[in-house]
């Protein structure tokens, strides 16, 4: 048998995979554009195209300035944010499932979301909902408080796990549960103490993209990019870590350290997502599952596709969340993802089970 007659087994020779990823990316960009067309005010598609093309130097003068504001300053940042948050959650969930070697892990397994919720609740409780200096910069202090809370709780989880005998998976998950339970109790305490702020806290906890804009994007992006960079750098190690820490060390991976880096990367994404959009379930848990069923379990294609699919899913969930109720009322986007995703996943599992027998 000659070398040439053998099938190629390189990772480079997988054009089908590349096509899938390129298709998802194109679909994502198209979704962000289409999302700009939906909402209480009717915006003709052509007008939206002209307005968005205006960012690239195309002349968009003569368009109704109200429509321009709606498309450019309200709908576009919101759609872009939902896309990026969806991508962050899909990516983060895929990484968590890989490092914890547990298909039930999601971006919130280690208590990052509860930390963020506590940070936000505390800010609302103390009345720090608008600080003139930050507002002037277009920043809302609540997401910043949420982000700080998430980072603090992640630090606490890692410190607790280390004190409990290293960053083993079980210890990490346990430390996450303990921290989350403690912080949940504190949130309940804040709710019971602050009667005026209860509504604000509950509303924030429901999550969603109502009223989110460029300020939120500005809070989100640096953390998104940092988390993404860490994950891209260590994605090769993630495949090896998924076989277990001992295996990884035998192959030359600094397992404990790399896992910590990946954990931080994934948690940065989760924390930034919760900070700007509240707790949105389902995407981080189910999207990596779906992708794994379709593309297999290798992390680089898995993470890329999870990010792209998560983004698309959340853009459309948000479109539904803001259009399904009459008179401009909105549902939290997280409710939509769970309501649509749960039954869909059941159907998928059933179809798979039937396909096997």
């Amino acid at each position: 048998m000659t070398q040439a007659s053998l099938p190629a087994h390189g990772n480079t020779g997988r054009p089908a995979l590349f096509a899938v990823l390129a298709g998802l990316a194109a679909l994502g960009l198209a979704s962000v554009f289409l999302a700009c067309l939906f909402g209480p005010a009717r915006v003709p598609a052509l007008t939206a195209v002209r307005l968005l093309a205006g960012f690239f130097g195309v002349d968009a003068s003569g368009v109704d300035p109200t429509l321009a504001t709606i498309v450019r300053d309200i709908r576009l940042p919101r759609a872009a944010l939902s896309w990026l948050v969806g991508a962050a959650l899909g990516l983060s969930g895929g990484v968590y499932q890989g490092i914890l070697r547990n298909p039930l892990a999601d971006p919130f397994t280690l208590g990052v979301s509860t930390g963020a919720a506590f940070g936000a609740s505390l800010a609302i409780f103390l009345g720090f909902t608008s600080i003139p200096f930050l507002s002037a910069l277009g920043l809302d202090p609540v997401p910043l408080a949420a982000l700080a809370g998430a980072m603090l709780s992640l630090t606490a989880v890692i410190a607790l796990a280390r004190a409990g005998g290293g960053t083993r998976r079980e210890t990490l998950v346990l430390a996450g549960i303990v921290t989350a339970t403690f912080l949940s109790a504190l949130i309940s305490l804040l709710k019971s103490l602050g009667e005026e702020s209860v509504a604000g806290i509950v509303y924030w906890l429901m999550g969603g993209f109502a009223g989110r804009g460029f300020g939120h994007l500005a809070v989100f992006l640096p953390y998104f990019l940092a988390g993404l960079a860490i994950i891209v750098r260590y994605s090769r190690e993630l495949d090896i870590l998924a076989l277990g820490e001992t295996q990884a060390r035998m192959l030359g991976v600094k397992a404990a350290r790399v896992r910590l880096y990946l954990l931080i990367g994934a948690s940065l994404l989760a924390a930034a997502s919760v900070a700007v959009a509240g707790v949105i379930g389902f995407v981080g848990l189910i999207v990596p599952h779906l992708v794994r069923l379709a593309l297999g379990a290798e992390h680089r294609p898995l993470l890329a596709a999870s990010a792209l699919l998560g983004g698309i899913l959340l853009v459309w969930s948000d479109v539904i969340a803001r259009t399904v109720l009459p008179h401009g009322a909105e549902l939290p986007a997280g409710v939509v993802t769970a309501l649509l995703g749960g039954p869909f996943f059941c159907l998928l599992l059933r179809a798979r089970a039937m396909g096997r027998t």
């Binding site: 053998l6 099938p7 087994h9 390189g10 990772n11 480079t12 499932q97 890989g98 070697r101 547990n102 298909p103 750098r233 090769r236 190690e237 495949d239 090896i240 998924a242 076989l243 277990g244 001992t246 295996q247 060390r249 035998m250 192959l251 030359g252 991976v253 600094k254 794994r292 297999g296 379990a297 290798e298 992390h299």
Partner: protein, 267 residues
């Protein structure tokens, strides 16, 4: 093989887990071109010793030296270029392709940033071919049978191009023909200069392939020497507490042990 004169040596290893001492002063040496069998009853410490040799389990005292260097002073990557391990069993929650698993053997060789190159992919494919697993390359490791997975993990170890190969039950779960194939392959690797240490339960297979044997019992070396020296009725009786009958292999003349039902513990 990159290390033609590979050699691994353990001295006075005392190791265990909190509250349980497993190895109580074990020394052994495996040289280039030699297949060393690690035998002994369940719980004798074979797997722990392999983990110490692979430097993933730190002993309470004692040293492990590979190619003249303390394994615990090597970086993970340096060590993985010298010592490759085939585990007894790997739990695979998610299934990367067999090819990707073999490619993981190249981790310690590939540059940290640019990742695996075409050369690494060629080496991984060659390793799969050598382990008789190339036809499995595109299948998910989690979908393979135990024996097929074993061959993929052997391919991964071969891709590491390490001078020292450590195998924990290389042939467990394999049918006799596959087991022979795997051990023939290991013997070829020895001929090419590798030092091979196999923890093995199948005494007769060990007698056919191992140049030397080390019997562990209760965390100590209970017997060691060339296979001809130590593979005897007396040693097996003493270590396994059962009385076998020894016969000669009809083709090779090597001693083989036949066990007698009901003889365990009746010395």
């Amino acid at each position: 093989m990159t290390n033609a004169a590979a050699m691994i040596e353990a001295r006075d290893i005392i190791a265990g887990y909190p509250g349980r001492e497993v190895l109580r002063g074990v020394s052994l040496t495996a040289r280039s071109g030699e297949m060393l069998g690690l035998l002994g009853p369940n719980g004798a410490g074979k797997s722990t010793l392999l983990h110490v040799l692979a430097a993933v389990h730190k002993p309470a005292s004692g040293t492990v030296v590979v190619d003249g260097r303390d394994v615990f002073s090597l970086t993970d990557r340096e060590r993985a270029r010298r010592i490759a391990v085939v585990p007894q069993r790997v739990e695979v929650p998610f299934g990367p392709r067999a090819f990707s698993v073999a490619l993981m053997g190249r981790y310690a060789h590939a540059p940290a940033f640019s990742g695996y190159g075409p050369e690494d992919e060629a080496i991984a494919a060659d390793a799969l071919r050598e382990a008789g697993a190339i036809h499995l390359a595109e299948r998910a490791i989690s979908e393979l049978s135990g024996g097929e997975q074993k061959r993929v993990f052997i391919a991964r170890a071969l891709a590491q191009q390490a001078g020292v190969l450590l195998l924990d039950e290389a042939s467990s779960g394999l049918d006799p023909a596959r087991a022979i194939e795997i051990h023939d392959l290991l013997r070829r690797k020895c001929r090419q200069g590798a030092a091979v240490v196999i923890a093995i339960h199948d005494l007769n297979l060990a007698a056919l392939y191992c140049d030397r044997m080390v019997f562990l019992k209760d965390g100590r070396v209970a017997a060691q020497g060339t296979t001809a020296e130590v593979f005897s009725k007396e040693v097996i009786e003493r270590i396994y507490e059962t009385s076998p009958e020894l016969v000669r292999h009809p083709c090779l003349g090597i001693a083989q042990a036949l066990f007698v039902p009901g003889s365990s513990g009746d010395r």
